[in-house]
Point group: C2
Chain length 392, copies 2
């Protein structure tokens, strides 16, 4: 067991209201922390720090918990910049381009997918993300969905089976046949490699009835539910997520009063994906209303080549502040503790004794710079599970 003292922290965000200033961010000054192996072993005033094997002086910089990116589609091949440019010239986002990526992904070798995913995961870590969720959904055959989940599992335990991403072209005239496959052989094959079941419940994707069927089958197979909902239009996604006790319903762009009420009365997190709203020129969700109603909000990238080729949680924080009227503190909390809640994880998303040592040092004296300096190289260094990683 080796221990490292992290000291000379200008501002320490713990997400522990018992710490520091007593706010939900639990901001402490003149604090230090000790990493022992993978975990945080001690936090307190720098002047009372215990002896350790090593010592890291981080020069008065701010320290925040590692970001938890609870919504990504990271295993894919190809890119869709031409579709992006067409959309920026006026075409609407319908989700119809997903099959482009399915075709490219099916054609890619395991090695190509692994190398590409590793590249994006490294980008994410360099911008402060220490936990990622990864969905399948660009395979849409039994063999390809399995392949994507096995590769995803090399990068994270938070793997999500999303055979119900779109109905693939070869089943265009047989939706029920595809759903039989998803809920039958595909689920049976994939469920050992996934923690979560997810469905794209939206206009042009899957209906309420189809969504319920897939979620029920996934739960029966031992998976935990989460949902894409209310992105493209208002629909039943949020209500179904709450009905099934989903950990999270993601996008939430189009909500009505009853959706907000249902979320507020539930344990379901509303995961907002401003990178997707940015990259599809869509309206941003009404984060203010969700927060004011007491809903737990998470921020994630939705990283995918169609609607949000974004790896940077700091960009999501900046967009949440600029476009969704979240305060910098609320946005940081959503990208850390919120993401952890969306993944039902206790030991990440905060810095407390016993938490995983996922620690991000900012090239700044305060976390506010995450929004104040959009697109700057704001992450000086990071530890993930106590292991240090080089700066960007």
């Amino acid at each position: 067991m080796t221990s490292t003292l992290i000291t000379n922290i200008g501002e320490l965000v713990t997400n522990d209201p018992a710490m520091g200033d007593g706010s939900f961010l639990g901001v402490a000054h003149d604090a230090a922390l000790v990493i022992e192996d993978e975990h945080v072993a001690w936090i307190g005033p720098a002047s009372k720090a215990p002896p350790t094997d090593a010592r890291e002086d981080i020069g008065g910089r701010a320290v925040v918990p590692g970001f938890v990116d609870s919504h990504t589609h990271l295993v894919f091949a190809g890119e869709r910049s031409a579709e992006f440019a067409a959309r920026m010239a006026g075409e609407r986002y319908t989700g119809g381009g997903i099959m482009t990526t399915v075709t490219a992904t099916r054609a890619a070798s395991d090695t190509a997918l692994r190398v590409h995913t590793a590249h994006l995961a490294a980008e994410m870590l360099a911008s402060g993300t220490t936990t990622i969720e990864i969905k399948s959904g660009y395979g849409l055959t039994v063999a390809d969905e399995l392949r994507l989940l096995r590769i995803a599992g090399e990068f994270t335990p938070e793997t999500t089976f999303m055979g119900a991403h779109v109905v693939p072209l070869e089943f265009a005239n047989d939706r029920d046949g595809y759903l039989d496959l998803v809920c039958g052989e595909m689920l049976a094959t994939c469920s050992p490699y996934a923690r979560w079941i997810d469905v794209f419940c939206d206009t042009g994707a899957f209906s309420a009835e189809e969504t319920r069927r897939v979620l029920a089958a996934g739960i029966e197979a031992g998976l935990l539910p989460r949902l894409h909902g209310n992105q493209i239009q208002h629909g039943p996604g949020v209500q179904i997520a709450v009905e099934f006790g989903a950990a999270s319903v993601d996008h939430c762009t189009h909500l009505d009063d009853s959706d907000i009420e249902a979320l507020a009365a539930s344990d379901t997190v509303a995961t907002l994906l401003p990178g997707a709203d940015f990259s599809t020129r869509s309206p941003y969700p009404d984060a203010r209303r969700l927060l004011d109603a007491g809903v737990t909000v998470a921020l994630a990238t939705d990283c995918n080549p169609g609607s949000s080729f974004v790896t940077s949680i700091p960009l999501c924080i900046a967009l949440a502040v600029r476009e969704m009227q979240m305060t910098p503190a609320e946005a940081l909390h959503a990208a850390t503790a919120g993401g952890a809640a969306a993944l039902r994880r206790e030991g990440i998303g905060h810095l407390s004794v016993g938490a995983r040592a996922d620690i991000v040092v900012l090239e700044a004296t305060t976390f506010v710079h995450l929004a104040y300096r959009p697109a700057a190289p704001i992450v000086a260094r990071a530890w993930r599970g106590g292991a240090t990683s080089p700066p960007q």
Copy 2:
């Protein structure tokens, strides 16, 4: 003299309509280029490349001209994240916080200013910017304005005297006295260290009459005019810029028909600063209308600690596409050739034989990724004046 062949370029943006696809971006495929010392010595089909001393295979990546950031306030001390957070919570931007930075800057040592400027300039180069303009305006005494311009001159020949940034507190009851100083001793002392004269012509800053007085004095002292105008409200800035033959009028958020007509009939560039609109939650300028009227548009960061702590031209490009309906091609052109026009520079902002070898290699196969992958580490490497710089 040493020569280097840059080859295996996936897509080469030259900004030379005589090259490649004949568009204003002059996009060539299967092209290569040769750097000799500081300049581009040859461009053509890779198969016809001449022999060179060295050879760089850039692996099919896209190459674009180095970005020209024609509007920054890079020499300053301190930060204003608290003011930013207050603004995001609803306070309006009035420019009133400039004195906070003036106080911090006056108190900073030359060395502290130099180190901070170097840090930001390195950030800019790492994100692809190979030419920067730097304004004074956080000194507002003869000695401090001189100091800022001398430090700015260590980083760029594009130095701008901007004593008329705000009226400093000590002259609050004597505006005319301050303008006498700016146009008298301050200008006389500073003009040998500046190429440009600039005035903040806006509500709460300097009036039309004051602006004309300062510009006329600057021109008399041998400086070339440029202007901040029409940022906070509609005002006379654009018309005065055109009247004085300014190289550029910057911000242009609030324009009327006669402003657009005046710009279209002039050589004055409209420099748009979407980082400032982002960071002050202001409306974005109507770039579409300017472009459609035939106005030359530039994109720049406005990097400063109050209204736009942004160093990333790629972010400005992404915002121009998302928020200002510029195409990715128009946005890239504005951030390269547009910036060069705003600085009246012939030898930068394009890649042609004889141009300065300011070359940016993207971590992408096409320049569209500058908008498609917001806040990604999109710059793989850069050459500035033929000298290579390490990646980010």
